[in-house]
Symmetry: C3
Subunit: 268 residues, 3 copies
Amino acid sequence: MNSLNEINKIMQKIKNVNPLVHCLTNYVTVNDVANSLLSIGTSPIMADSIDEVEEIVSISKALYINIGTLNSPVLKSMEVAQNLAVSKNIPVILDAVGAGASSLRNKSTISILERSVDIVHGNYSEIAYIASSVSNTKGVDASSLDESLDIISMAKKVAKKYNCICVATGEKDIITDSETTYVVKNGCREMGNITGTGCMLTGLIAASAAVEEDFLLASTYATALMAISGERAFENYRGLGSFHVNIFNELSTIDEYIFEGAIKIEKL
Amino acid sequence: MNSLNEINKIMQKIKNVNPLVHCLTNYVTVNDVANSLLSIGTSPIMADSIDEVEEIVSISKALYINIGTLNSPVLKSMEVAQNLAVSKNIPVILDAVGAGASSLRNKSTISILERSVDIVHGNYSEIAYIASSVSNTKGVDASSLDESLDIISMAKKVAKKYNCICVATGEKDIITDSETTYVVKNGCREMGNITGTGCMLTGLIAASAAVEEDFLLASTYATALMAISGERAFENYRGLGSFHVNIFNELSTIDEYIFEGAIKIEKL
Amino acid sequence: MNSLNEINKIMQKIKNVNPLVHCLTNYVTVNDVANSLLSIGTSPIMADSIDEVEEIVSISKALYINIGTLNSPVLKSMEVAQNLAVSKNIPVILDAVGAGASSLRNKSTISILERSVDIVHGNYSEIAYIASSVSNTKGVDASSLDESLDIISMAKKVAKKYNCICVATGEKDIITDSETTYVVKNGCREMGNITGTGCMLTGLIAASAAVEEDFLLASTYATALMAISGERAFENYRGLGSFHVNIFNELSTIDEYIFEGAIKIEKL
């Protein structure tokens, strides 16, 4: 677990570098994504017009793609931005929101993965869909997912197939490059009751990948950071409104000591 | 008031069923709509691309249409989604945001109503516009609205004309199927100073209609739930920011006993 | 400083008039812009479809244009709305978000300015870009900006060139009509860590310009109001989440006495 000794340094690296993260994201949670990036010392820029994505991605340190609300112009912008990012070695991070729920999302997810991404994040159901599409084209029916699914092997399959880091979030969070796997056991179930905690996590992953070229480490750091912030925000729970606000309080005030004291992680 | 004995059961039904609600809504308040749906145990999905609305509405238990920010592609998606929902007997709930303010909103409102909706919600001014358009095509000038307008008879007229439930919110909230009318007297004026409380209410109505086929009852329940959450959130008022947050705290923590103790309702 | 005696009256004027402000703005911070306008007694309306902008701007008291997230349909709507506003003498207020970051934003900023605006707001970097484009077409590289740049002379240059009020926000906030300049020394650095505080300020400026035809005074009032609300919200700081919420608490509860006691302003 050598590299885990390095994990704690990512927090400070982000603050030092203040990387620009280009976000092509949905209109539901975009404000929370921007504020979560700002809260840890990143500069987010939301720009999805085909007329500027190339310029914006060129000055950015990471490209964040989120398919939460798709439409044709934005899909085209994603393609153009991603192709340029890949050619310029700018890390590409995908949040596969709703993969499995419609053909549009399924096709878009696979197209984006096939163009090459560095890190893909989804919840168990979304990662299971992608994993299933590796072996067949039908995809899984979300209703067939149950506790017994082997999410770790699915995440590994996705990571191997697309040569990327795969982050699968749920009861436990799985981060794998197909060979090394970390399991983060922080967080709390109630985070799923606020829209955008997944999108925010993917933003934090992008911010970390912008400053740490070991993407497995970067993804693990960000996943732990979000989970720890969530579980700390849940203390003295008064309802989803305050909980939501507290997540930003925690993200913006956490330090290395708190992080190190709180992280519950296992290497497989 | 037999059916009112049933009203309290809707809260638990929503939590048991965890219905998927398909939202075609504006980009101003979409985050609050999603979080309000999550706060009561519903799964919202925001998807407005013409390339996926049919698939998404097919797996949903209710279709929520909100015209707060319109554009041509979204109007087309609304039409396609609504036609499919009607043919599949999936309840359609309309928030007529800004009806009366522009020809685009007026025409869209009437088109959507004529395609058939199960429940329409608007504030007094919006419902007055729709009611006036029933008898003439000029619409009312919002400036001509005053305290003396008979909002109850307007709401009944809308409900009768479009064979739906009409919810008119304002100083008191009116819910009618044109024959039976409920008046909810909870809530507080300051809710109008936060954008999206109306949109959120319509979301709660959609969630209720997803599990309760008596749409008059479902609408009354949701209206009371939003009003009670608002008035409880207003206690110890410190400003609109905390008030806004508290509404989500109340929505996510209210139980049947609090609801039953707080509801102020009259059947006409 | 005669006019400053009048500044405090704008707060009440807005509450009395309750002006409608038409906002063509980005989807990142639109909810906060709407809530900030509501918090001071304005009625915001977000409407960017080409099919309704003319009707909406015609009934509005100010037109707010924000280029935070551009696309072709919205740019066209902005042009149509702005041309009508100019011809009808409705004040036009521009937030030049990201000017300098892409050709699209640069061209859009200059086009909007050349069509005539009453007030332009940007951060130091954005105003510096506009100022540089006055004398040459290359624009500045944001990285070449440093503490020593003379932001006041740049703001004056912009105001003179485009015959408008220029508001440049940063460590100190500059408001100038090219001849008279106010410097507002309220506010706190952390406001920059919440997305949308700049967009909100521009909203407050639009609200003030809707009721006060001395646009230099209106802009100065709004800038001081936002800065004072921010610094008061920062007291008992617990993190960016609560800070964000507190800004709305302050905006919605501040009164003339608090404002007058807090304002730190210098006339140059």
